[in-house]
Symmetry: C2
DNA sequence: AGCAGCGCACTTGTATACAAATTTTGCAAG
DNA sequence: CTTGCAAAATTTGTATACAAGTGCGCTGCT
């Protein structure tokens, strides 16, 4: 269906960062870019709004969703609630096959983490690491045997990725204290992964919930820091812009 | 905006039970009923799909969402996760004003419950009771200070209401053992409400979570029973229909 | 030079027209 | 009387045309 074509087209660009948060999505531009009329584009935008990736304001048009710190924190809260509960469910319902899948993702994560810490060139591994991380989380959600929760969590993951950063490409090459501050965090994260795994393995519901919640809290703190930095930088930028007005 | 008019129109009928689960929603019928063209109707249907109230299958049209037992259980799981977490948040963040609001709803519930048990005529009170119940829950969600979670929970409540029953009007006037079986449940529910309230009052996070989860579990069990009955009755109905074919 | 007000271009929202697809109806054969 | 098939009738999805609202720039004034 043409409407789906438009949906995929726009969604891809949002997820890849080509359309960053705040980017205006005008129906006629999109329709000529995709090669369909405005009707299926409007349809696609409504679906993307349902995903939370796009916001449509009447008469003002659609744009890629942006979030302030407050909303982002709330989003993280939602994730904690859902993923924590799902981890508990996984501990209850997991089969051996599920456990095997989780183990596999965990091992990949482990080796990637070690390679990442040792590597000089960070960027190529960073992507793989993120991918394995979602694989790990998805394996757990699958083991929880609740498709509704799984879909919802996936949705939140995507939304989180989109709003939390203008994609990794826009990052400075090597901030001075970045490496030092990030790597202890990484091994900590890996330890948390293993605790979650252990709890699910021995079918300990509340331990699984707690471990997952703690894990997300620590991830969230990190995200919030980088997000706060980004917001500060934005404000700084605006100030300098105003200063430019003053100096002219 | 006309699209909103269509949205409200359809939504109201779904929530009131006039369009029961499974009811086909055809764009031309709706458009002439509402007095707008098919375009805003399609738009409205997409929004309702985002709410989960409508399902659109390509080329097959839209219909009011139906759920089988499995999906319903999953929905309830979602509610447990979200409302449990939100109760914990409420215990953390509640102000005295929040508590006052909750108290008010709780008191209304208490007196209504007592009147309900004593009353001969059940139906008029039943509606008030349900309304006060959501008021109680909403007061807690408000105290949790997380609008995203609050909106999500409200969405789930509505969805739950729509799929769980073909509206109260379609219920038998007075099933014989219904009153006996329902009233202990009701006072039990009221006791659970009070436990939730107490936990939030004394800012006991995990007690609030546990109480809310237990409360929902008991509600859910009840819903599942009635839902299973409904499904059985449906199957029975279909069988008799087939039997009719045999007898003719 | 700065600012107010007006008008134009652009964009959204809605209606209508048309093509594709699905369901239903009618008909004929077993 | 049932079953299978074909064609008509709905119904969806898409394109296009048009009305209405928004924002921007331009001109003219102070």
């Amino acid at each position: 269906m043409n409407s789906d074509k438009a949906y995929d087209f726009i969604r891809e660009r949002i997820l890849s960062g080509e359309y960053p948060p705040g980017h205006a999505l005008m129906t006629n531009v999109l329709s000529s870019a995709i090669g369909v009329s405005r009707t299926p584009v409007r349809d696609a935008l409504r679906q993307l709004e349902a995903d939370g990736l796009v916001i449509i304001r009447p008469r003002l048009g659609a744009s890629v969703k942006t979030m302030d710190l407050k909303e982002f924190r709330e989003l993280c809260g939602l994730r904690v609630a859902l993923e924590g509960y799902a981890a508990g469910l996984a501990a209850q319902h997991r089969t051996d096959a599920d456990l095997h899948e989780i183990t596999f993702a965990l091992e990949s994560l482990k080796s990637l983490t070690e390679r990442f810490i040792a590597a000089a060139e960070e960027q190529p591994i960073r992507g793989e690491l993120a991918q394995e991380d979602v694989r790990f989380h998805i394996a757990i959600m699958t083991a929880a045997r609740n498709d509704l929760i799984k879909r919802e969590i996936l949705r939140l993951h995507l939304l989180n990725r989109v709003v939390s950063g203008p994609a990794p490409k826009n990052r400075e090459p090597a901030p001075p204290d970045f490496k030092a501050s990030r790597h202890p965090h990484l091994s900590e994260v890996q330890a948390e992964h293993e605790q979650i795994y252990e709890a699910i393995k021995r079918r300990d519901v509340s331990a699984a919930e707690d471990a997952m919640e703690k894990h997300l809290q620590s991830i969230v703190e990190n995200s919030l820091r980088t997000m706060a930095r980004a917001e500060n930088r934005l404000i700084a930028k605006e100030l300098t812009k105003e200063e430019l007005n003053y100096t002219t």
